[in-house]
């Protein structure tokens, strides 16, 4: 926790930006020097997106390179595979099991690889999977996938649940607060 680098990856439009803002804000509460690097503009349009959250006593670079991430939180399986080499050797990959076909797969120019979680685990990557989409749906909205995954990530940090819920309330629009908090709690319960 003293020094940590977290990557949040997914497909443009999945809500990765909001997830990184929640994480950045809760870390700030604990007095760390935190940086959150975002992606805006063209790549947001259904492309592969990545945000970085880095903290420590002193943080310089806002970006994460290959072999540096303590955690990768992925919203989609192919994106988990794409960014896996950014994990450090004993890093942890948390991924939702949702799949979204990229355009080369839709047009038939490429194939979506099968059994991604198994292949990642075989390669020696500590991989935790969860069906974040179904969990989000069960609490009331597919749009809260990001909070389900943040809930799962939160299990690795020694921070009280109440603080996470307060931070979510600071970041999301008022009418969606309870929905997002419920999604977070559901994700946090996932073994």
């Amino acid at each position: 926790m003293e020094k940590c680098k977290v990557m949040i990856v997914g497909v443009g439009g999945q809500g990765t930006l909001l997830a990184s803002r929640v994480l950045g804000r809760i870390i700030l509460r604990h007095g760390y020097d935190v940086k959150v690097s975002e992606v805006h503009g063209m790549s947001q349009r259904g492309g592969s997106v990545v945000t970085y959250v880095c903290w420590g006593k002193k943080t310089y670079s806002p970006v994460i390179c290959e072999g540096e991430a303590d955690f990768i939180v992925s919203f989609e399986l192919l994106e988990a595979a794409r960014w896996a080499q950014f994990l450090k050797k004993d890093g942890i990959l948390i991924t939702g099991t949702q799949t979204i076909d990229p355009m080369p797969v839709i047009t038939g120019a490429a194939e979506y690889p099968e059994n991604i979680p198994e292949i990642l685990k075989k390669a020696g990557i500590r991989t935790e999977t969860l069906d974040a989409l179904s969990i989000a749906e069960s609490v009331g909205t597919v749009k809260a996938v990001n909070m389900v995954l943040m809930g799962k990530l939160s299990r690795h940090f020694d921070l009280p649940e109440s603080e996470w819920l307060e931070t979510i309330a600071e970041v999301v629009p008022e009418k969606f607060i309870s929905l997002n908090q419920a999604a977070f709690i559901a994700g946090r319960k996932e073994e």
Binding site: V11, L28, E38, S61, R82, K88
Partner: protein, 583 residues
């Protein structure tokens, strides 16, 4: 209280605290949020101008009146604003004038990765280069001080990783400023040759004075190191990457003002280290300067001049161990950005592709139409180049073919596409050229009623302004007619049959025409959608006809079309291609 702020948000905070009262900008990633955040302060008047040149000239006017002003843009926007920029260096300012320009190394969202620092040198203007959000705030305030103290516009150079990274900021209070009285001064503000010659020597004195200021002002600083085996002169994000790798091991001269450079500091710093490295993204500008001072150093030869740096760039260049990583043996398909499900551009692009036209493209979401399966564009150059480029293409074809066989070709297989905001930015003048010089060009304006790619900014055709108030809505049909185009047609891009019919008719005509393909962006909050389509598996024969439109909401699984109901808006563009009525 400490807050996390985006670099761009921190610039806006700096504007507020510095008593800036006037902001005029044109949106462009990664600069857009500066102006959007500035607009949230009631104390600041903020507007979207039709283009960067207009915006900068408006800021000049506000400065002359006596109000601190700021103009924000992306790096390529400074090309558009370069005309006023170079002469503003001669006139100087009344109240402070700051130009925030955001570079995009690595081209996350741009058509090139030009280095804006070259403009500071060419226009003889001071330029500040923050590394993070806290500096974005403090340098913005400093920029106004320098502007007024030395009678000069000041450039504030952002880049993607500074603009779009959040870091810790401690906001301060606003200093409200009285209007600085304007006094008529033709020798200062009227740049005729005689007056401009009068101003020119002062620009040299000014840069000399700013250079002396930069030596002692604290904007540049030396950070001691334990080991003098090597040392770094660096700025912006490159400074962060050097520190990430080496911490306090080696001394660093951190440059906050990259033009003019602090020569005395550089000379004394260079004496304290054995090997001097210059670390800067893109061009070797500081390196050339240091070398011109007669100091041996290494820069581009080890770090390169292409793309965005990271801490691994530094490690690789200086043979520091790269962290180990594990990778899985997987072939991973690329995931390029795509036009959204329900995007109104998709239908017209499908028709264009079907007719096999040559297409001059422009800058906006519709640039994504160049990707498979639509392959709809032949060129993309810069804002407005679609209209003017098509004119040149068609005119050259007319002239060449007329010379060869005496026949006047009809230019019946070429069009250009340009968005509503881009047309107002730089397309109108191109259209005036089409009508005035008479090329038989068919111009398609993709009017989605918003500036889309940069994240939904209002423009003069939308009927709303930046502050969210109703505004004059420029009538595109009347505008095109006023620019000399007799034939102006409007189509709904969701109606493929009608689009094809109108396109064929206008291509067949022997005079220029404009087709306005009009439907608001599917992501706009006020746009109501019909709801997702369903596939009738009995009727679907798996022919993949619906896949020709390249919509992210349709795929074919087990020889049947599948609709992603979380994405599909029900635009029915794909359904019009289905031969069996399965959609």
């Amino acid at each position: 209280m400490k807050q996390l702020m985006l670099g761009n948000e921190a610039v806006a905070r700096g504007l507020f605290e510095a008593g800036c009262g006037f902001v005029s900008s044109y949106p462009g990633t990664p600069s857009t949020e500066i102006t959007e955040y500035a607009a949230k302060y009631d104390e600041i008047y903020a507007e979207w101008a039709p283009n960067e040149k207009v915006a900068l000239e408006a800021c000049f006017g506000a400065s002359v009146y006596g109000v601190r002003s700021m103009c924000g843009m992306k790096h390529v926007g400074l090309n558009v604003a370069a005309d006023p920029l170079f002469t503003l260096s001669y006139t100087g300012v009344n109240a402070g004038l700051v130009i925030a320009v955001a570079d995009d190394p690595g081209m996350h969202s741009s058509q090139n990765e030009q280095d804006s620092r070259n403009y500071a040198i060419a226009a003889k203007l001071p330029m500040l280069e923050p590394s993070d959000a806290a500096e974005s705030l403090s340098f913005t305030k400093l920029a106004f001080e320098i502007s007024e103290k030395f009678d000069t516009p000041v450039l504030l150079k952002m880049c993607t990783r500074v603009a779009h990274s959040q870091s810790i900021v401690e906001p301060g209070e606003r200093t409200a400023l009285p209007v600085k009285a304007y006094a008529k001064d033709a020798a200062k503000y009227v740049m005729t040759p005689a007056f401009a010659r009068g101003r020119r020597p002062g620009m040299e004195d000014r840069m000399q004075a700013i250079s002396e200021f930069s030596e002692t002002s604290g904007v540049n600083r030396i950070e001691e190191g334990k080991d003098s085996e090597c040392g770094f002169i660096t700025s912006s994000t490159s400074y962060l990457y050097v520190k990430e790798v080496f911490g306090d091991r080696f001394p660093v001269l951190k440059i906050g003002m990259c033009n003019p450079m602090p020569d005395s500091m550089i000379k004394s710093f260079a004496k304290t280290v054995k090997t001097l490295y210059i670390v800067e993204e893109l061009d070797g500008i500081m390196e050339a300067h240091v070398k011109a001072l007669g100091i041996r150093c290494k820069g581009k030869e080890v770090f390169g001049n292409i793309g965005e740096f990271s801490q691994n760039t530094i490690r690789k260049a200086l043979s520091v161990k790269i962290p180990d990583c594990v990778s899985a043996d997987l072939k991973i398909p690329a995931r390029p950005p795509v036009m959204c499900a329900g995007c109104p551009h998709r239908g017209i692009f499908y028709v264009i592709r079907k007719l096999g036209l040559t297409v001059f493209g422009d800058i906006g979401c519709y640039t994504l139409g160049s990707a498979p399966p639509l392959y709809a564009l032949d060129t993309t150059l810069c804002m407005g180049a679609s209209v003017s480029g098509l004119h040149g293409f068609n005119k050259a074809s007319q002239v060449s073919n007329f010379l060869l066989d005496g026949a006047d070709p009809s230019n019946d297989n070429t069009v250009c596409v340009i968005g509503d905001s881009t047309f107002l930015h730089s397309g109108m003048t191109g259209l005036a050229n089409v009508s005035y010089n008479g090329s038989n060009s068919t111009v398609i304006i993709l009017d989605n009623s918003i500036t889309g790619m940069t994240g939904h900014q209002q423009n003069p055709t939308t009927g709303w302004n930046l502050k969210g108030d109703p505004a004059v809505k420029i009538d595109l049909e009347a505008l095109c007619k006023a620019l000399g185009i007799e034939r102006v047609r409007v189509v709904d891009p969701y109606d493929l049959t009608r689009c094809e019919q109108v396109l064929k008719e206008e291509l067949a005509e022997d005079e220029p025409s404009v087709i306005i393909s009009r439907r608001p962006c599917a992501l706009l909050k006020y746009v109501k959608h019909a709801g997702p389509l369903t596939v009738d598996p009995e009727k679907c024969v798996g022919c993949r006809s619906c896949m020709k439109v390249g919509c992210p909401a349709i795929s074919v699984k087990n020889k049947k079309a599948v609709i992603d109901t979380t994405l599909c808006t029900g635009c029915r563009v794909c359904a019009q291609l289905c031969k069996t009525g399965a959609l």
